[in-house]
Subunit: 65 residues, 6 copies
């Protein structure tokens, strides 16, 4: 029944990589807490680098440095 | 003042269906908790089926089965 | 498969009211989008009135006015 | 280490405005709680006006009134 | 820089289990997307079983069946 | 109409500091995007340091170093 939300920057993540994140997060919850994969939900949000900030700056700008 | 976030897969939801979700969620909060519709906020997120996992698999793949 | 998150202020919501929110939100998704209740997840967050702001003020203070 | 999520309607927000939101939120956490900007994360979500409701109505419709 | 939010029911999760979830999620992002652990944030929310619904019912009630 | 969610560790944040975060975030949205404070919502989540991870470790442990 767990719900996992993964937010990452939108920088060319492939369908296969997303599948690996979903599989890995579901297995992690099963291994650590014995949660049932049948009702484990994983949602991946891809965020534009203009919309993600760290250190007070947009990732778009940090990538240029 | 409530805030409701509805996450669904991005599979052709129409503007009218979104309006029905917003109206329905707002009415639910008013009916159950007497919350004021004027400040009830509803946000709908549509998520690509590659980015939504359940049972450790992408919905994109589950839809094919 | 939808995920619904309802955030409300923590002001004496009863177990029965929470059950009504969960039932109502699940039925709304079924009625509007034909979503399967078996995998519809609803999570309610109750937030202290000191931690909820609107109009730039804490709800705790707004309640006194 | 704080995480700030800002949800706004998707109505022509510029890259410069997003940078100002990121800078301002990071500075706010530093000023009020002495949080380290190096690990303060800000994520901005732009939401279609069809997907944002208040007063039980879509913002798209409210904008027409 | 990823942000991972794990929501689980509040049913006696130990500090060690939480540490394992944090370590596992951080390693998953590093393995799949080569993300830097130094800025990967993981937040775990424990939700009362009265506040978590699936199948239109509170987990508190489902646990009794 | 914006919605701002601020997640911080639960380490003795005072009511006055929360009020300052709410006021500051509301003013930021007004200044940068001319958003109406009357419908700007700010929600602060305080997270136990056992439940917050960075660098693959719990903040509880990082604080000891």
């Amino acid at each position: 029944m767990p719900y996992v939300n993964i937010k990452i920057t939108d920088e060319g993540v492939t369908k296969e990589q997303k599948a690996a994140l979903i599989k890995g997060a579901t297995e992690l919850l099963q291994k650590v807490l014995n949660k049932n994969p049948a009702t484990t939900v994983v949602v991946i949000d891809e965020v534009n680098t203009d919309n993600w900030g760290i250190q007070g700056e947009q990732v778009t700008e940090l990538r240029k440095k």
